[in-house]
């Protein structure tokens, strides 16, 4: 095995091995468990840095393992994979920190962190999958490893949320499997290729390929929470805050959106998909999802539910970007994959802090939270502004590129969708910020769990992650054209996907 083969596997192993070890640890070995967690997370970030440097220099990383004749597990760390991998790895690192603080004295932490690591491993597998077969293996593994996390609290509501989640994702997986096997039997393989691999098939397969496209998109659309397959996401918000972060930013919905990217660009190929007339319906669905998610968010009083519907809307931006034919839209979609993750995870960290510290679960309880928890509220506000697309934030960059993409693709109506969505974003985020900063709070917080100590409104493990990600939201917006920014990387990918 050459180093270039070993490196992607090492990325997988850096969370898989700690995860397996953690399962075996007794509950009270807190120190060792934390060490293992952080060791894995750091190792992963280092490995990915090496990969990034290599790929930027034109190296190819990949590994192929034969499962059955004609059926291979393929891992490939290409530019697109690395976009997702580095996002997930970085956010995993912060989520781990956050989770350590969040679950400090909760039960079953070995189980939690074990599945947590498995979950990230699955995400890495999805990102680096080199064919649809591998993609599916890890896609289902992700479903299985998130179920115990959503069900973690063991309460009847948690079980209900977990069951709904499971029902949606397993159904989606079944549909996806049908599409993949069908494709496999048509094309003989499912290896991703830049520019797609289906264009070579005979023209009489076109109708079949359209049906398969619907199956595949419906399959990944469940995790991406495209309307009308989004019903699980608001239900799953019963999970602990780090799990919500995982679902909404690091792993699950991202896996779905990433699947759409792979399917459009590297299975069908964007030109071929356009020729089959598949992109416009996809764009329409994304647009509907964007508006519908924002509208529903407007009427939620439960903070996490509002954030959940916001995710439904925001993830569809990525899909919209993919569906806009042309490199500009592609760049917008891809960069939003990263930006949305960073902003949304900030929001969920903050929501978790409010709930943990002050017992706030509803928007209507937010009055005065800003004065009691200024740092958390600052982070929240920055991320919320980013979501609206305010200037100097990462969100502004995404929205600008998406709008440009829509215009170059000749889909001017999409610009309107984006504008309406931004207005709606403002309508459901600004009142929260308003309440927290401007309204007076109660003298005594009725459900305060954690008292403030000096400037530390809440334990630093809970405070640091949202602050860092909020800072990133600003940095990615201000320095969007720096060489290391997500935008530059997305441009690199788009260049490779469109130039044959």
């Amino acid at each position: 095995m050459t180093p270039n083969e070993a490196l992607p596997l090492a990325v997988l192993a850096s969370s898989l091995l700690p995860g397996l070890l953690i399962f075996a640890l007794p509950e009270e070995r807190v120190g060792l468990r934390t060490t293992l967690n952080l060791l894995g997370a750091v190792a992963k970030v280092v490995l990915i840095a090496a990969l990034l440097a290599g790929v930027a220099a034109g190296e190819e990383y990949g590994f192929r393992y034969r499962v059955l004749p004609g059926l291979d597990l393929v891992f490939r760390a290409d530019a697109l994979a690395l976009l997702f991998v580095s996002l997930s790895a970085l956010l995993w690192f912060f989520t781990t920190l956050y989770a350590i603080g969040y679950l400090e004295s909760g039960p079953h932490r070995s189980r939690f962190f074990g599945f947590f690591s498995l979950c990230v491993t699955s995400t890495m597998g999805i990102a680096m999958a080199g064919n649809l077969f591998t993609f599916f293996v890890f896609y289902e593994l992700l479903t299985l490893s998130t179920f115990p996390l959503v069900a973690h609290r063991g309460t009847p509501q948690a079980m209900r949320g977990a069951t709904v989640y499971l029902a949606y994702t397993l159904l989606g997986g079944t549909v996806l499997l049908t599409g993949i096997v069908w494709l496999h039997s048509l094309a003989g393989h499912t290896d991703f290729a830049q520019g797609g691999f289906l264009g070579v098939l005979a023209a009489h397969h076109d109708a079949t390929l359209r049906i398969i496209f619907v199956l595949l998109i419906a399959g990944v659309g469940v995790k991406a929470a495209l309307v009308p397959l989004h019903g699980w996401l608001p239900q799953a918000m019963v999970a602990p805050a780090p799990v919500s972060a995982l679902l909404h930013a690091v792993a699950v919905v991202k896996a779905g959106a990433f699947g759409v990217v792979r399917i459009v660009y590297e299975v069908y190929g964007v030109e071929f998909a356009q020729a089959l007339g598949l992109l416009l319906p996809l764009a329409v669905i994304a647009a509907i999802t964007i508006v519908w998610g924002s509208l529903r968010a407007l009427f939620q009083d439960d903070l996490k539910k509002r954030l959940a519907f916001s995710t439904v809307s925001q993830v569809a931006y990525i899909v919209l970007g993919v569906a806009l034919f042309g490199p500009v839209g592609t760049i917008g979609g891809l960069v939003h994959l990263v930006h949305q993750g960073i902003m949304k995870i900030t929001l969920f960290f903050c929501a978790g802090n409010y709930a943990e510290t002050l017992g706030i679960h509803k928007v209507s309880q937010m009055d005065g939270a800003g004065r009691r928890m200024p740092l958390t509220s600052l982070a929240f506000t920055v991320a919320a502004l980013g979501m609206m697309g305010a200037p100097f934030t990462a969100g502004a960059v995404s929205k600008a590129w998406l709008a440009d993409g829509a215009r170059t693709a000749g889909m001017d109506w999409a610009v309107w969708v984006l504008s309406v969505s931004s207005l709606l974003n403002a309508a459901y985020f600004l009142p929260i910020a308003w309440r927290s900063w401007m309204r007076p709070g109660p003298r005594v917080w009725p459900q305060e769990h954690i008292a403030a100590r000096g400037w530390r409104e809440t334990p630093w493990l809970l405070l640091l992650p949202p602050l860092v990600t909020a800072l990133a939201t600003l940095l990615f917006g201000v320095f969007a054209h720096a060489a290391w920014s997500p935008l530059s990387w997305a441009q690199l990918i788009a260049q490779r996907e469109y130039v044959p």
Binding site: V67, A162, T174
Partner: protein, 477 residues
Amino acid sequence: MTDPLPWLVVLPLAWASVAFLLGPGRGAVLAAFGVALQCALAFELAARVQAAGALRYAVGGWGSPLGIDWYVDGLAVLMLGLTQVVALPLLLYARSYFGHAGAAGRYFWPLAGFLIGGMNALFVSADLFNLYVTLEIVGLAAVGLVAAGGGAAQLAAALRYLFATLLGSGAFLLGVALIYGACGTVSIELLGPLLAGEAPRAVYVAVVLMSVGLFLKTALFPFHYWLPPAHGGAAVPVSALLSALVIKASFYLLLRLWLDIFAPLVQPLAWLPAVLGSAAILWGSWQAVRAEHLKLLVAWSTVAQIGYLFLAFPLLATQAAALDAVVFQTVSHALAKAAMFAATGVVIHVTGNDTVAGVAGVAQRLPLTLFAFALAGVTLMGLPPSGGFLAKWLLIDAALAEGAWPLVLVVLLGGLLAAWYVFRVLRQAFLLAPPTEVAVRAPRLMEWSALLLAAASVALGVRGIELARLIAPVGAS
């Protein structure tokens, strides 16, 4: 090293007899050593078959048609290996289990030995009448195991099972009689060319009789009626052996006959098993979804999983992947079902409750066992990475290549129903339960053997290529 083949048949018969000689309840260690040795022998035999192709062995030196022949190809050696590999952890499990369950285990060891010996003899035999005798050994030993030390319900289940298995082997015997009368031999090797041409009507009747007899023994819908009470009511190690291996023995024989000598005759009938298999999947899964009792749920799941084995029958003639699918389903179901029964046994032992509702809180009390149950469940649902997933993939692939959409739909629906009944248990297990006062400790040996089996069923999804190579026709790979 001497030829491992005869030892695989002789050894279990020998240790079974000696275990009886030692006295009631004795022989566990002997059995464990015996099966461990058989494992090694089976692997040695597999290596030989892999290297030199199928083996023929003339018992008594006469050769067919006068004597009885053994014939060991990839499929046979695969079943031999599977049986020993699944039996070994189950016997270790049983040693711990019957340490607690007293009287029920008095004759477990000799009966298990004869059961395994009978199955090994069945896998290698190439003589129809000899196959009948092996079927009887397996059937009667299985009934004896089900009945051992049980109460009224269990005895009634055993008696029902006995009548089913006797009816099945009776039909098989009449089929053998007709074939001998029509062709003058019972050697499978010699029957091949005889049945390829124009066969008299009696041979067709024989084919139907033998097939129906084997359907009955394999508990294919609608002949499954005996299985849930028998597998749901027996002692746990027995349920595991029966669900994992015994029904596979008669299925193997059916597959063998349909692929080989019956192939020219049954072509127009090939859709029939698939229809019955579909019904088995849907009905069995639905009953599992509704089952109140844990062991009954697992037993109904067996009814459903058997169905997958038969779905591939219409595809066997044209699609190479179909046989692979059958093999993967056979192996992974054997491992997973053994694991699932084993895990269920631990849960029942510790909670003292055998209902699905009683599983609440098991996630805290028995994480290892629940993990084993969940891994086995992954295989049964056909989710990756597991042997069951590969089976499902191959089956859908083959069905799509033939345009057999109804089969695809049944496979997918079956997977979802399986998820339903598996997660019914899992979600119950995750519920918080009030702490119990009496803490029964889970026997380590039982927990780990369940986990080992479950892990193997999942690992098959990653390292299963050897199986495919083993059954690939010589020169194809």
